[in-house]
């Protein structure tokens, strides 16, 4: 009895320390907040939120190794801790571990969707930002490589032309014509290759008819139209319980995930990273 009593007291004490930490955090006294959370962790090391709250403080102080350590600990306690995946993702991105960071954020997004949209907008924006940066980096690289390939090819063609022209007396006109054609064709081929990184438009069938933006969590409704889940729910709540186009009655349970469109969006984004650019 006395043991259980003291365990409860310890728990209570840890909760008070967490609240102290939260208060310090709101006042941006991150050092004091870390101390409070650390004490809470010492008392009750098995509560994930103490670890994730401390991780957030470390993130504010740009101490990414410590963010990683605390998040890893929280995930060992409960692998479905949304905030641990989220903060770990942010820390990994800061440490240039882009792919791993994005993977953590995607896991957080998945958990957010299960939790009725908790934090999904924030998480999605971080993912989009990271993916866009990743694409931009790759695109710059590819542009540089194409440019240097172009320079080398042009130089080689020119050398070949000069050699041919000196050997083919009397056929200089023909040699020059071939040379110019080759230059033109080279330009065409390289332009074609560069097109892959040119931002264009997201096709309409991958966009939501209300946000007009690329679909993230597409749902299909009985009329066959597909919308962004969060926005359609907002419509049902604010405007009315009807289909935005046909105006026939529609309720929340009639929303069905549209996996085909979701896959199509993912395939499109894989080849067109520029589409992650936030409006």
């Amino acid at each position: 009895m006395s043991y259980r009593g003291s365990a409860a007291a310890t728990k209570r004490q840890a909760e008070i320390l967490k609240q102290t930490g939260n208060l310090c955090f709101t006042k941006e006294r991150f050092g004091a907040a870390i101390d409070a959370y650390t004490e809470a962790i010492t008392l009750c090391p098995n509560v994930p939120i103490y670890w994730t709250n401390r991780a957030l403080c470390h993130l504010k102080r740009n101490d990414y190794t410590k963010v990683e350590n605390d998040c890893t600990k929280a995930l060992q306690l409960d692998s479905n801790t949304l905030k641990a995946h989220y903060l770990l993702g942010l820390a990994l991105l800061q440490r240039q571990q882009h792919s791993l960071g994005i993977k953590e954020l995607e896991k957080a997004l998945e958990l957010g969707r299960i939790a009725k949209g908790y934090m999904v907008e924030v998480i999605w924006q971080e993912i989009a930002k990271a993916k866009y940066a990743q694409w931009e980096h790759g695109a710059t690289n590819r542009t540089c490589r194409l440019q240097s390939l172009k320079d080398v090819c042009e130089k080689a063609l020119k050398e070949k032309y000069l050699r041919d022209a000196s050997e083919a007396e009397g056929f200089v006109d023909e040699t020059e014509k071939v040379h110019l054609e080759q230059l033109e064709y080279l330009k065409e081929v390289l332009n074609k290759a560069a097109e892959a990184d040119m931002p264009t438009e997201v096709p309409d069938h991958l966009c939501c008819g209300i946000t007009l933006d690329i679909l993230r969590d597409p749902v299909i409704i009985p009329s066959g139209a597909t919308y962004e889940r969060a926005v359609l729910l907002e419509h049902l709540e604010k405007v009315g319980k009807w289909d935005p186009i046909t105006r026939t009655p529609l309720s929340e349970h009639q929303l069905v995930p549209n996996f085909a469109i979701k896959e199509a969006v993912q395939a499109f984004l894989k080849d067109n990273g520029w589409a992650y650019k936030l409006g």
Binding site: I210, H235, P244, I245, L278, G279
Partner: protein, 194 residues
């Protein structure tokens, strides 16, 4: 929160084919919630040849609330107030749907110019005339188009210059023109009346 990304996309989309649709949308300033639209009067109606400007205000709830629209150009039409340009159109009220856009709303206004609904009037005087004396209605509507909707299509800068040359300060000229929807005569009246 007003969905800024959607409004930006709408603007781009609308102005891409404005030469074909005869519909365009522009910003009034830096604020994406204040816009004005332009529609051309439909062919074979008393509004043919006119360019009509519409004040558009988007609330924070847009697109879950309809855009607030009002004619800035004076127009003689049963469903549009001849006094203040207020519009009686169901999709701008209870029949709005977030699947509609500023462009589709402006297209509906264009359609409304083609097909007035005098049984559900905004301006009772105009509606009465439409029902009882159609030829006079057509004459008045055409006269209003000539008078108000054609001058408005002259470049705003020319109008500013003209009024400034008459001796009015430029910022006041611009403000007055903006208030009356770019109508030079109405702006002059406003400037003269103080």
């Amino acid at each position: 929160m007003l969905d800024l990304s959607r409004v930006q996309k709408e603007l781009m989309d609308c102005n891409r084919d404005k030469d074909i649709s005869g519909i365009s949308v522009e910003l009034r300033g830096d604020d994406l919630s204040r816009l004005f639209g332009t529609i051309s009067g439909p062919i074979a109606t008393p509004y043919e040849g006119g360019t009509f400007r519409i004040d558009i205000h988007l609330t924070d709830e847009y697109p879950f609330e309809p855009p607030k629209m009002q004619f800035m150009t004076k127009v003689w039409h049963p469903n549009i107030s001849s006094q203040n340009g207020a519009i009686c159109l169901d999709i701008l009220k209870d029949q709005w749907s977030p699947a509609l856009t500023i462009k589709t709303a402006l297209l509906s206004l264009q359609a409304l110019l083609s097909a007035p609904e005098p049984d559900d009037p905004q301006d009772a005087v105009v509606a009465q005339q439409y029902l009882r004396d159609y030829p006079t209605f057509v004459g008045t509507a055409r006269y209003w188009t000539e008078t108000f909707a054609k001058r408005a299509s002259v470049g705003i800068e020319e109008k500013v210059q003209k009024l400034v040359e008459m001796g009015f300060p430029e910022d006041l000229v611009r403000k007055s023109l903006d208030k009356v929807g770019g109508d030079e005569n109405m702006a002059l009246e406003k400037l003269c009346s103080g």
